[in-house]
């Protein structure tokens, strides 16, 4: 089966995500820092009338921090499950391309540097000379979110 992916660059590395989960790519979006927020949360944005949290992909993947004046774009994902609406944004360096990838062409993740967080990778795709790391968006964000969701459940049980 062939799926369409959006590729983007973080720290000179090529990544791609399934476009089915992508809502919008925002250029020059102002991000408001939230006091007392965890480090991986860059801030919040007003997206179509709702407050959407924005994560820093570099912190998430354990890559070098982003210099303050560097350009960036925000990719907004829709990770809603049924009635449970959940949108989240991530900051990347820039978006590159929209590509079609056949499932059979996806290769397993090889062992990588300990410092690089590979838990979120779904596989590797080779496009000419480039290797693109395919991300499993759900895994990238639900790691921390799961805790929060669990908390919510505990709250309601009380």
């Amino acid at each position: 089966m062939t799926s369409t992916y959006l590729s983007f660059i973080v720290c000179d590395e090529l990544f791609a995500v399934n476009v089915a989960k992508v809502l919008e790519v925002l250029q020059k979006q102002r991000i408001t820092h939230v006091p007392n927020a965890p480090e991986y949360i860059k801030g919040i944005i007003n997206f179509r009338g709702e407050v959407v949290p924005v994560f820093e992909s570099r912190t998430k993947f354990n890559l070098p921090a982003r210099p303050n004046d560097d350009a960036y774009v925000v990719i907004v994902f829709d990770l809603s499950k049924g009635a449970d609406v959940f949108r989240i944004g991530t900051v990347v360096d820039r978006v590159k391309d929209v590509i079609s990838i056949d499932d059979t062409e996806i290769k397993p993740v090889p062992p990588m540097s300990k410092d690089f967080n590979t838990d979120f990778l779904q596989g590797i795709y080779k496009q000419q000379a480039d290797f693109i790391m395919l991300l499993n968006v759900e895994k990238v964000f639900t790691g921390d979110e799961l805790v929060a969701i669990k908390d919510t459940h505990l709250q309601t049980v009380e």
Partner: protein, 683 residues
């Protein structure tokens, strides 16, 4: 069943619940005045309407069951039995059961099945008993259904109404429930669906009405349905009366009426159907005769709207307000001078629009009070106490969402009053109080705030007992000397319950702390006051609407913050050195008083330092005041609040943000939390 009628069903759910509320309300009053004919009459009519309409929509169990209930009411109406405690208990339980049946129309739930057969059995016992009693010739209840319309035409006629229902009716917003409740005011009626005249698009119903009302009163009811209804006279007498051999044979009676109609021949009905079609072609001509123009006695004062539509409206309004402030900012230079008046007009209009949209969402508190009445009735009976509810100002309005979320905490408070507050009748008599305890709910509005007070005249809170318990639990030291208010505040701590024994009613460890949490989630506040021996009062302070708030905008470093304008006392300026000097006590003088200040930089971990002149915003909550240290006061801001969402659940002082004209976001500081924080700081 015609699929288009599914839309009717949604309406039916809503209206049936309203009718059930009405019956419940009547019953609660009847308990105090069991002989009030008007109340019996009104409850009976509402039951009858539910029965009629539920039958039409295929809610067979509801129909069957309400029929049983109606029989009981009929006997009461005819003075063959009188209300006693048992009948009240059964009818209340039956009402609850009808509510369940409406959602479980196929009676699929095992529990509901058991309940269903048990209640029917109970009702049958009542009916049997009265039958045995009334087997004397004194049974002369002449007219089966008492008729309340003016009896200038005292001859009772029987009318036949052919009614065709289709999708159009739904789109025209015609309420069948309304029609049937009007019909039941005229007299008694029976309905049956004529299967052979119904198809995919429409259903045809045969309604037989016996009434002494003149024909034009009947046609008035169907004034909007002229082309769908044909009204003909069947007999110049009440055929129900002739057929009925007492209410207990009602089932049979119904049967024979149907036979009567059937036997009158399909040909006759087909002829009427033709007539009906004729009218469709010829409806202008039809209006000429008999029917008066719409002299609708009760003009519609309230309409019910799907709450999703209201939410959408609110969303659009809040977006409009955001764009409005962006527009104001973008046109704030000389080159836009020509369009400035227009921009200002748009601004004024959108603010009016906002206020108007808010008002639409407001619901009076009285809608909720009925449920409390019922709770008080059931619980006081269970606990063997005598309790009256009195209310004042319950027409005060609150946002629909707030009311919905307020229901549970209020229930809990009232449960507490009944269970822990008000004493048993004999104990009350011993201390010279009237045997019947009193729970009073008062509501009033000041500005954007609504204050709701729930008071009981029970034994109050024993401060010493609470203090000892707190010492016991290690919350207080034995040497501490807390003030009364501080002792009352202890009751809001998790797991703190003062009752000696935990009862089923309240005090399962989840108690007032949950209530407080809910109220704080609503951006409100709750306090307790109590005098031992006299009673306890709970005061809830809530914002009338919470989605858009007039606020003051200020900055700390490069972050924007807002505080509701209604919380602000005054803004002033203090030299940084003075704050530095007072840092160890974290208080500053204000009006001969020392008030705590909150260093927002420290509290929210914001970098940088305050400049020489610190702008101080003093906010007030009840009798407490707190000063916020800020960098710059920007001005007024209409905050369209958006929740931060679960990614920021751990935020203590910030729960929502609003967009500024330039696209930046400002955080609303939760002042209630600040007050609890400064309390903690003080202790």
């Amino acid at each position: 069943m015609d699929p288009s009628l599914n839309k009717f069903r949604d309406k039916f759910y809503e209206e049936a619940n309203q009718l059930l509320d009405k019956v419940e309300n009547d019953l609660l009053k009847l308990e105090k005045m069991p002989n009030e004919n008007e109340l019996i009459e009104s409850a009976f009519r509402a039951m009858h309407t539910i029965k009629g309409v539920s039958g039409m929509f295929g809610f067979d169990f509801v129909c069957e069951f309400t029929h049983c209930m109606e029989s009981v009411f009929q006997l009461i109406k005819d003075k063959q039995i009188t209300f006693d405690r048992e009948i009240f208990d059964i009818t209340f339980a039956s009402l609850d059961h009808v509510r369940r049946l409406i959602t479980d129309e196929k009676l699929a739930d095992k529990h509901n099945q058991d309940m269903h057969s048990k209640l029917i059995q109970d009702i049958t016992i009542i009916l049997e008993r009265s039958k045995a009693k009334s087997n004397n010739p004194a049974k002369s209840s002449s007219t089966e259904y008492e008729i309340t319309t003016p009896t200038n035409a005292s001859i009772t006629n029987t009318w036949h109404i052919m009614l065709r229902t289709d999708e159009q009716l739904y789109f025209r917003g015609i309420s069948l429930v309304g029609i049937f409740s009007e019909l039941s005011q005229l007299g008694s009626y029976q309905t049956a669906k004529l299967a052979y005249l119904s198809d995919d698009k429409s259903d045809t119903w045969s309604i037989i009405l016996s009434s002494n009302a003149p024909k034009n009163e009947i046609t008035d009811i169907f004034v909007f349905l002229e082309e769908n209804a044909t009204i003909t006279q069947l007999a110049n007498q009440d055929i129900f009366e002739n057929l009925a051999n007492g209410i207990n044979d009602d089932g049979e009676a119904e049967q024979s009426i149907l036979e009567y109609v059937e036997s009158s021949g399909k040909a006759k009905i087909a002829a009427r159907e033709e007539q009906l079609n004729m009218r469709l072609f010829n409806k202008n001509a039809a209006t000429a005769e008999g029917s008066k123009p719409v002299a609708n006695k009760q003009a519609i004062k309230r309409i019910s709207v799907d709450s999703v539509k209201l939410d959408n409206l609110m969303f659009l309004v809040s977006e409009l307000i955001t764009v409005d402030s962006q527009l104001l900012l973008a046109t704030n230079s000389a080159k836009f001078a020509t369009i400035k008046p227009l921009v200002e007009k748009v601004d004024a209009l959108s603010k009016l629009f906002r206020n108007n949209a808010f008002e639409i969402r407001l619901v009076p508190l009285s809608d909720t009070v009925l449920r409390f009445q019922r709770l008080i009735r059931d619980l006081s009976r269970q606990l063997g106490k005598k309790i009256e509810l009195s209310t004042q100002g319950t027409d005060t309005e609150l946002d629909k969402n707030t009311i919905d979320q307020l229901n549970e905490p209020l229930m809990h408070i009232i449960r507490n009053c009944i269970d822990h507050g008000i004493e048993e009748p004999d104990k009350r008599a011993d201390v010279g109080k009237p045997e019947t305890g009193m729970i009073k709910i008062t509501a009033n509005q000041t500005g954007n705030y609504v204050v709701i007070t729930v008071e009981d005249d029970g034994h109050g809170i024993n401060c010493e007992k609470v203090r000892l318990k707190a010492v016991d639990k290690g919350i207080l030291k034995a040497t501490d000397t807390p003030t009364r208010q501080e002792i009352f505040d202890l009751i809001f701590l998790p797991g703190f319950s003062t009752a000696e024994s935990l009862s089923e009613v309240s005090g399962r460890g989840v108690g007032m702390d949950v209530v407080r949490k809910k109220i704080i989630d609503l951006r409100g506040d709750i306090t307790i006051d109590s005098t031992e021996g006299k009673g306890t009062s709970f005061t809830l302070k809530l914002q009338q609407s919470v989605a858009i708030i007039d606020s003051l905008l200020f900055t700390v470093e490069d972050s924007f913050f807002t505080v509701p304008l209604s919380d602000i006392m005054i803004c002033s300026q203090t030299p940084a050195e003075e704050i530095a000097l007072r840092a160890h006590t974290a208080t500053i003088p204000y009006n001969d008083e020392l008030i705590p200040f909150v260093d927002l930089r420290k509290k929210l971990h914001i970098n940088g330092a305050y400049k020489n002149k610190i702008k101080v915003v003093i906010i007030r909550n009840n009798d407490h005041m707190v000063a916020l240290l800020t960098d710059k006061i920007v001005g007024e801001h209409q905050a369209v609040l958006k929740p931060l969402g679960r990614s920021f659940r751990n935020q203590e002082y910030i729960t929502s943000a609003s967009q500024l004209g330039d696209g930046n976001l400002a955080f609303m500081i939760d002042t209630n939390k600040l007050f609890t924080a400064s309390e903690v700081m003080k202790n």
